[in-house]
């Protein structure tokens, strides 16, 4: 960020008198606002798309009366939620009750910082990118648990406990399934991971096709991540038909709105990680977007990245509207008995592969064979 600030100061002589730290701070705020706007827009549109997709899958139409073709539905929902009465139940723990939605929202929003949207489009290219995402998304579980506890409602409590157990269990397979990408790139930075999948192999440069283990990793990650974002078939913390509405049962108005938005934020983060780590991120097949002028290269790579990520989100929605829900013991069994051992075996496989074949993937080997 500081480097960017220096180049900005150099480029715009008008800023010469302003201290560097102020420019940096200003830049940070601007970037934060841009990302917040993007996140909110995505989350709003996401909810609309979810309803449209649900409509399509369920032989319905979905929202089409509010604005042209229902496009303003999320705006109406948002305004309504903001203006709704904010109820805090009499026996709730007021402080924790108020705090919980922010934990959840911040946990999902903060992860946007390291998402590599394009060649140069990343708010902060942290050298511990993946680690950072895993860490901040863990805030969500604290928020959910707080919400469940503070509501003083037994359904909410059950939902909160389920969420805590579930997210803690699935963090492990999620992390383990992402490590192969880290191993291949040799870096925790998401930007490095994306760059490692470039080159002239086209889509075969993606980690997905690197070797059989990474291929498998992707599906393990996707399954575990589906669970981490509380999507059906793993939506036990909310489980409408069992726990009424789970941990957010007592929340109304904008506080519920924050939970609602965070859900879509989480969805996007999962899709973005899957894209960055396995599907080549912003890499345009057979083409290096970095060679284009800054603005066009970034726009192109942004388009590619969002296209891939949204496809993943759509698949998640599709799964969500298709499958029934697991029971809580089956959920735990699935994580600890199947996903965790499989991801470990998989990690071992990837490591051995990299060791034996000197880091070369199958497509690269075929390419070198063919000359």
């Amino acid at each position: 960020m500081e480097a960017l600030a220096i180049s900005l100061v150099n480029a715009v002589p008008l800023l010469g008198g302003v201290p560097l730290w102020a420019v940096t701070l200003l830049l940070m705020v601007v970037v934060a606002v841009v990302i917040l706007v993007f996140a909110l827009t995505f989350e709003g549109v996401g909810s609309l798309v979810l309803r449209k997709v649900a409509g399509d899958i369920q032989a319905r139409i979905g929202p089409n009366r509010v604005g042209p073709n229902g496009m303003l539905q999320f705006l109406a929902d948002g305004v309504k939620l903001v203006l709704k009465e904010d109820i805090i139940p009499a026996n709730a723990d007021r402080l924790l009750f108020k705090l919980a939605p922010y934990f959840v929202f911040v946990g999902s929003f903060a992860a946007f910082v390291v998402v590599p949207f394009g060649v140069g489009l990343i708010a902060a290219d942290l050298n511990i990118g993946i680690y950072y995402v895993m860490a901040v998304t863990s805030l969500v579980v604290i928020g959910v648990l707080l919400a469940g506890w503070a509501s003083n409602n037994k359904w909410a409590l059950l939902g909160g406990m389920r969420a805590a157990a579930q997210i803690v269990s699935y963090e492990i397979p999620v992390g383990m399934a992402l490590i192969p990408a880290v191993l291949i790139a040799g870096s925790l930075s998401l930007q490095d991971i994306v760059r490692s999948q470039g080159g002239l192999l086209g889509i075969f440069g993606w980690n997905l096709f690197h070797n059989p283990f990474t291929f498998f990793s992707f599906f393990l990650y996707f399954t575990a991540a589906q669970a981490e974002t509380n999507q059906t078939p793993f939506d036990l913390p909310e489980a409408e038909s069992e726990l009424v509405s789970g941990y957010n049962v007592e929340y109304s108005g904008i506080r519920f709105g924050l939970f609602f938005l965070a859900e879509f934020g989480d969805m996007f983060i999962v899709a973005a990680l899957a894209t960055a780590c396995f599907l080549g991120g912003w890499n345009v097949p057979f083409f290096n977007a970095g060679t284009l002028p800054w603005i066009w290269g970034n726009l192109l790579s942004l388009g590619v990245f969002l296209g891939k990520a949204f496809t993943m989100v759509l698949i998640m929605m599709w799964v969500r509207w298709t499958l029934p829900r697991l029971r809580v013991d089956q959920l735990m069994r699935m994580s600890w008995k199947y996903l965790v051992p499989l991801t470990f075996v998989n990690l071992l496989g990837v490591s051995l592969w990299l060791l034996v074949f000197k880091g070369k993937g199958i497509p690269a080997m075929i390419a070198s064979l063919l000359g």
Binding site: Q58, A59, R325
Partner: protein, 376 residues
Amino acid sequence: MTIRTDALPTQEMTINMGPQHPSTHGVLRVILTTDGEVVTRAVPDVGYLHRGLEKIGERVTYAQYMPFTDRLDYLAAMNCNCAWAWTVEKLAKIEVPERAEFLRVIVCELNRISSHLIAFGSYTADMGAFTPFLYAIRERERVNDLFEMLCGSRLTYNYARVGGVSADAPPGFLEKSKEFLDYFEPKLDEYNNLISYNKIFVHRLANVAVIPAEEAVAYGLTGPNLRGSGVPFDLRKDEPYSVYPKFDFKVCVGTGERGTLGDCFDRYMVRINEMRESAKIVRQALAQIPDGPVLAKVPRLFKPPVGEAYFRSECPRGETGIYLISDGSVNPFRLKIRTGSFVTMNIFEKVTRGLMIADVVAVIGSFDIILPEIDR
């Protein structure tokens, strides 16, 4: 569950499920005592929809009671209409024209299909898959269209009459029914592909709330819930009424195909298979339906002879038995309706012991209860 009590003081939690809860199928209230997620006791509390149908029966005439039978089981109003008509006819020994009986069988079986569709759909929704529910309702709309053609109503039909049915089938009804069956029968395979044999779905239902055959009989279960335990008892076959003996159909029983005999999955599959059998009956009835009048001559001021009759008919939720006492006046003297759901709720507390909260939902769904039948 062996927790050292001295090490960790724990306490059971009492949770109130309902009367407003998404998966209690109406206003059922269950008081759950749980140890974490494990239910130690689930006591049903019913009566939130008690509308006094039996008392009303003593204050209106026999013909006036017909609309109230619609509200007895609104998902299978035709079956209840016909059950009432058959009961009164049994008491007063009225001959019903054959065409009317055929029409009754056709509408009863169509209604059984639409009722089982809701059972299937809401069950999958309870299990977290919301989409099949909407598919089921899409199909149900077609049955509603048929009934609307027949009697102008979508849900509460008031179609049967003492001595026959209110009106003959309008032109095109029989053909449309056949069209519906042609459309509907392949859909059942689609449902099976979509959800019935889905691995998660099977795991949720198999081996949950197993009811052995003897227990099912002792607790008075009837209909699909009894057949799910492997007891091949169907009033349409075993105590034939109306024109059912003319048709060839199979009594569907649970087979324990994915778990233990008598579990939730068996009860679910019985309903799916029964829809197929009902379609078969309707096809045969459509082919054999004779011409003729549809309403016997019944005096306007109808007074049945003094006597008592108990008539049992096979409704989608088990046996609906109507115990009717007449003192020779225009009103019934006493009317008692025995319904499948009410009797089924009796076993609820027993089978839910030791299950998880999610399983309680599965059990409620697998019994396919409906609240007006429980509360009347």
